[in-house]
Symmetry: none
Subunit: 241 residues, 2 copies
DNA sequence: CGGAATTGGTAACAGCTTGTAACAAACCCG
DNA sequence: CGGGTTTGTTACAAGCTGTTACCAATTCCG
């Protein structure tokens, strides 16, 4: 676990430096900033784990800064403000702040809340924009969306019809999420109403099972959720390219 | 984006139902619970995105419950409490809560803070938190939550229906803890009120007994607690994988 | 202690959901 | 066109689940 890097944004120099030294003394890396320009300059050059942003800066508005940052970045932001009325807090949360802390604050509590946000952030892998890849792996199987090839764990290629392939793609896009027949039908077709009457999805599911399930009578991956629909109960990974 | 699923834990029935309906009216899926046993029972069977946990329950301590949940699970937790002193809030954050909200609270602000936590959580790959399924052992039996396989002590596989499996999971999540029929029904169903009338749970228990008890007439594991409900009187271990 | 009342067990049943074989229509491609 | 393939429909069988009814077990209470 690396040391968390904070950016402390406050235009009151005494408060700013007090916070910086306080966090440093508690094992954080903390840098000061006083304006949106400084935030941007710092972000351009440094990794930051969390921004502590005062809402009332000299002639800038922390809420607006937060909104602008959020429109581009996913950096966690905790707003700090002497304005503690509910509607002011709401405004902070509405522009995407992770927390809103009223001044004056208990320094220990501030650290606890910073840690709470970091804990949550650290658990989620950083969101990185990844080029869409077309090769999927699931339970030993491999599906190459570019060539439309489905390869079984034993290496043999399995031939799927176009409809079966389409169903597989829908399932791969929604692993572990129960899908109703209606949702599947809608995802498969530009004319969802076509499937209105009948059991088309059931039959389609059955046919796909017969090709990709080892024992179609006791499906491991393409499970039935009685009363709901079907779930693809299988971890899916997209191949890095 | 799927609808967020909340679990509202409060022992004051008026407050609990008020919150549940309020969240439902704002587009959330919300389920009530009153105790740690109910939380476990619900988590065993349902996806949950966030738990709103009252700190002062009848004879349980929300802080301790939070600590126990956190020691195993990564489900987001917001603590709610009438105790708003700094050291009490600190205690909440220290056991891993994502936020700590004082009662009485502004309902709109509560929703804003719930959304703030969910926003942060949603970056993670799996949309909804689901209790980690692994392999469970109990009295010589083995249940593989991933494959949904139940293996008897003699090595043979026993086929359970989906409802029977769901019941087994609830029991495994609460060994040695008496569960009322209502708690079981609530964990098994998205619409607890459906089971209102009848003996569905009794019959379900009977069917499960007939499959996993050596002598269903004198159940060793799935015991009846007359006047209360049922207990899973069996040590359960979760295999580390 | 004994009879009534309460509580739990379960067989039987009915309603509903799902699986799938069989058929027919549509489609594809030479 | 003409054969093979794919796909939706239908019909039936099988399975799942809640309800009811009845009986057994337990508890209550005079």
């Amino acid at each position: 676990m690396t040391i968390p890097r904070l950016l402390i944004v406050d235009d009151d120099s005494e408060m700013r430096m007090m916070m910086v030294t306080y966090f440093q003394r508690h094992g954080f890396i903390a840098h000061p900033a006083t304006s949106e320009a400084e935030i941007n300059a710092h972000l351009a050059e440094n990794r930051v784990d969390l921004i502590l942003l005062d809402v009332m800066l000299a002639d800038e508005n922390g809420i607006e800064i937060c909104a602008r940052l959020r429109s581009e970045e996913d950096v966690p932001i905790i707003l700090v403000s002497a304005l503690s009325a509910d509607h002011q807090r709401m405004a902070g949360y509405e522009v995407g702040a992770d927390d809103y802390i009223a001044k004056p604050f208990n320094p220990e509590l501030l650290i606890a809340r910073v840690k709470a946000v970091l804990r949550r952030v650290r658990r989620s892998p950083s969101l990185s924009y990844r080029r869409a890849t077309s090769v999927w792996h699931f339970g030993g199987w491999r599906y190459d969306g570019k060539r439309d090839e489905v390869i079984a764990p034993d290496g043999y290629q399995v031939m799927l019809s176009s409809r079966e392939t389409a169903l597989l793609k829908v399932l791969l896009a929604n692993p572990h999420i129960p899908l109703t027949r209606e949702e599947i039908a809608a995802a498969l077709s530009d004319h969802p109403e076509t499937d209105a009457g009948g059991r088309a999805i059931d039959v389609l599911v059955g046919r796909l099972r017969s090709k990709i399930e080892r024992n179609p009578k006791a499906p491991q991956m393409l499970r039935t959720e009685r009363g709901t629909g079907y779930v693809f109960a299988c971890d899916v990974t997209r191949e890095e390219t």
